[in-house]
């Protein structure tokens, strides 16, 4: 299997080639040979969400006035899991686009290593280029605090989210709702039951990488917005 990308973040051409003859693979990059448990088994490629939280930073300053309630659409690259079905084994779990690392928290810790994306924070879905190797997350932001809040970065807990595919083959994540209750900028986070209504006939293609515990949500409460 050979994977190739043109290198442009918004390029929608990610070619996956499975030549029958291993010699047909062009000797570019690193060649990895894998021995499965049994020679039988069907190779399956499944899209998954990022293995770490993704910190989305708006490209331009974004301020939420008191009482504002908006929906943002954020697009992020998916991971590709290559596995065989007999016995179920994962061969490869790799990003379709390697995002830059970022640190979310104080430089002296505590904090967590995340991926960084710069988002246009689109308010309308039609303005967002819907690409096959990227998943769209609908973020519902509600400012219940009595003052203006500047949205500087948004920590999306992708390891706790499921991935869905709609009838058009586009990928969606669960809805993430963020409520700002007080002026101290701690945010209440809710993970929706499924994808947003914009996804037509959605089907779940991948579950969360980490099981959602109550304490994780409490932790996310203080870490969602900064």
């Amino acid at each position: 299997m050979a994977r190739e990308s043109a290198g442009d973040l918004l390029d929608d051409v990610v070619a996956v080639d499975c030549p029958a003859d291993p010699d047909a693979v062009e000797p570019r990059g690193e060649l990895v040979r894998i021995a499965p448990a049994t020679p039988r088994g069907v190779l399956a490629i499944t899209p998954k969400l990022a293995d770490r939280p993704v910190v989305a930073r708006p490209e331009t300053t974004f301020r939420l006035l008191p009482g504002a309630q908006i929906d943002l659409f954020v697009s992020t690259p998916v991971w590709l899991e290559v596995g065989i079905d007999e016995p179920p084994q994962t061969i490869l779990d790799e990003a379709s686009w390697r995002l830059s690392d970022t640190w979310f928290g104080a430089v002296t810790g505590p904090g967590e290593l995340c991926y960084a994306i710069h988002t246009a924070a689109r308010l309308r879905l039609e303005n967002l280029p819907v690409l096959p190797h990227r998943a769209v997350t609908k973020v519902r932001l509600e400012n219940r605090a009595g003052e203006t809040v500047s949205l500087e970065r948004l920590n999306l807990p992708f390891p706790h989210l499921s991935l869905y595919a709609d009838a058009g083959g586009h990928l969606w994540t669960q809805v993430v709702s963020v409520r700002l209750e007080a002026a101290d900028k701690l945010a209440e986070v809710d993970l929706g039951e499924g994808p947003p209504g914009e996804a037509r006939e959605p089907k779940r293609v991948a579950g969360p990488r980490l099981v959602v515990h109550r304490n994780i949500l409490v932790r996310a409460k203080s870490a969602m917005l900064d």
């Binding site: 910190v55 390697r98 995002l99 830059s100 690392d101 640190w103 810790g109 904090g111 290593l113 960084a116």
Partner: protein
């Protein structure tokens, strides 16, 4: 001849009689019991150490667990040794009294050892470092492989084990390079005075943005640090996690240099002009090669 034989027999009797008087069957049993007590004590000490490690040690920091395990082991073994001596017929109270005097004598004789021991306890208590940390002490830099009662052992990058006495460590400046989860890499460089510093900044920031291991936040830092003899002095600082820091140092410097070269940014180096002075004659210069040599 007869006299010498008689003398030998008397000499042997002189040795054998006290020995045979001491080596009664009861004494042999006592010594065997003492050896058994010591053996059981050794096993009990090892068992106590293993039990502590399994039940409590896993919840402690590595160095705390290490010190406590050694303390438990030697305490149990010491008790077993006293019990064994008692079983052998020795009076422990006399022994303890003698041990007090012996300890005092040993204390004076082993000041360095005691100092190292106490320094080790302070170091463990301070929690300035732990097993696995990357530290620098003086000229030594490496990973901490063990924290013992008397010394700390480092494995340097060229795979050499360095033993540092605890007393030295307590008096020295310890730089813990892996204490915090992220680290900053400072790259000092200079560009020619004619260069557009804004463009240089853009080139360097783009280099950082293209490196996925370079952290997006904290943001890279671009500073003009001074005006050198032949270059504007700059500092470009980027952040990495401590796990990727060492791999990134070389790559980041290489990419920054390549990007500046590709962008046509001049990185000047000192030029040396040789001037013979006004009094002496100029150096005679003879051109070798070129058009004259080739005849064209």
């Amino acid at each position: 001849m007869q006299d010498s034989t008689a003398n030998d027999a008397a000499w042997l009797r002189g040795i054998w009689e006290p020995v045979s008087g001491y080596l009664t069957a009861q004494k042999l049993v006592d010594w065997a019991l003492a050896a058994l007590v010591l053996l059981v004590g050794l096993l009990a000490a090892r068992l106590a150490r293993a039990t502590f490690r399994r039940l409590i040690g896993v919840r402690l920091r590595a160095q705390h667990s290490l010190v406590a395990e050694k303390g438990i082991f030697y305490a149990v073994l010491g008790l077993a040794a006293i019990t064994a001596l008692h079983a052998a017929g020795a009076d422990p109270s006399v022994l303890l009294g003698a041990a007090g005097i012996l300890t005092l004598a040993l204390g004076f004789a082993s000041q360095t050892t005691v100092s190292n021991l106490i320094s080790g306890l302070f170091l463990v208590g301070e929690q300035a470092l732990k097993v696995g940390d990357l530290i620098r002490v003086g000229a030594n830099e490496g990973y901490v492989v063990s924290i013992d009662l008397l010394s700390i052992k480092l494995r340097t990058f060229n795979n050499v084990l360095v033993r540092l006495p605890n007393e030295t460590l307590l008096k020295s400046e310890i730089v813990n390079l892996s204490h915090y989860p992220i680290r900053r890499l400072d790259i000092a460089l200079g560009v020619a005075y004619k260069e557009d510093l804004g463009r240089v900044q853009d080139v360097l920031l783009e280099t950082a943005a293209k490196n996925p291991y370079c952290l997006d936040e904290p943001k890279p830092l671009f500073l003009v640090t001074g005006y050198g003899d032949s270059a504007v002095l700059l500092q470009f600082s980027v952040w990495f996690t401590r796990d990727t820091y060492w791999e990134s140092i070389h790559r980041m410097r290489q990419r920054a240099f390549e990007a500046l070269t590709a962008a046509g940014v001049e990185i000047p180096f000192p030029h040396r002009s040789i001037y013979a002075g006004s009094v002496t004659e100029p150096f005679p210069v003879r051109v070798v090669g070129g058009e004259d040599a080739s005849g064209r």
